[in-house]
Amino acid sequence: MTDRDGVIVTLPADVNQVDETGQVWAFLSEALEPDRVRPGALIVAGDSVEPFLARVVDIVDGPDGDAIVHLNVVGVPEEAIDELRHAGLLPR
């Protein structure tokens, strides 16, 4: 498996990894641009091979002062692109 060229993941995350909330979670410190990760934001998460779209649910305290980001998995980027194209919000 190879990374997709040029794909930048806002928050590295593992879609298999859930916690007691039932939501996918990741450490905020993993984000290259933490300012983009805020509650309510729609972000690209996962890895560059199989990224996914997620809504940031909340950000809570974690061990060692590292914040934990909870994610609601929305889908895959291709779904959003297809819908935006259908809506005329992206060039066909």
Binding site: M1, P12, D14, V15, N16, Q17, V18, D19, E20, T21, G22, Q23, V24, A26, F27, L28, P39, G46, D47, V49, E50, F52, V57, D58, I59, V60, D61, G62, P63, D64, G65, D66, A67, I68, H70, V73, G75, V76
Partner: protein, 145 residues
């Protein structure tokens, strides 16, 4: 399951590792289940998952080194797992019988809400690649829609 602090916004405060013992589902037998995990399936991806888990949870007072997966069990057929909101985003997944994981030296625990399970590693640094998921699992499918 114990209450979570998920509703409290981050304040920058340090919190202790959460004991995984308080987050187990009791009375579940996992001996005969099939364990499913979506991408990432590389050793690097598995280790990243294990590292995150050990930074957040403990077992018997020590960092809990484990990989997240899901178990095919009554009420949770494989199609339901793969078409669920999280794994439906995966192009690749792997599946392996619990017995093969145990034979390879891994423990399996029912953690959080069903069908989530934790594949426990003997240690974070132990020869994971030689017996890891990717060598014992069979790549089965592409995305189910």
């Amino acid at each position: 399951m114990r209450p979570t602090a998920a509703s409290a916004p981050a304040t920058g405060c340090d919190v202790a590792l959460s004991p995984i013992e308080e987050l187990l589902r009791h009375g579940e037998e996992l001996d005969d289940v099939r364990v499913v995990r979506g991408w990432p399936l590389t050793v690097e991806g598995l280790l990243r998952n294990a590292d995150a888990t050990r930074r957040r949870y403990s077992r018997a007072g020590e960092p809990f080194v484990a990989i997240s997966a899901e178990a095919v069990m009554p009420g949770w057929p494989v199609d339901a797992i793969l078409s669920g909101p999280r794994l439906r985003t995966r192009l690749r997944y792997a599946a392996v019988d619990a017995g093969a994981l145990v034979e390879a030296g891994f423990d399996l625990l029912p953690t959080f809400a069903a069908p989530h399970v934790s594949v426990v590693l003997p240690s974070y640094t132990e020869a994971l690649p030689s017996v890891c998921w990717t060598s014992s699992a069979r790549f089965e499918s592409t995305r189910i829609t």
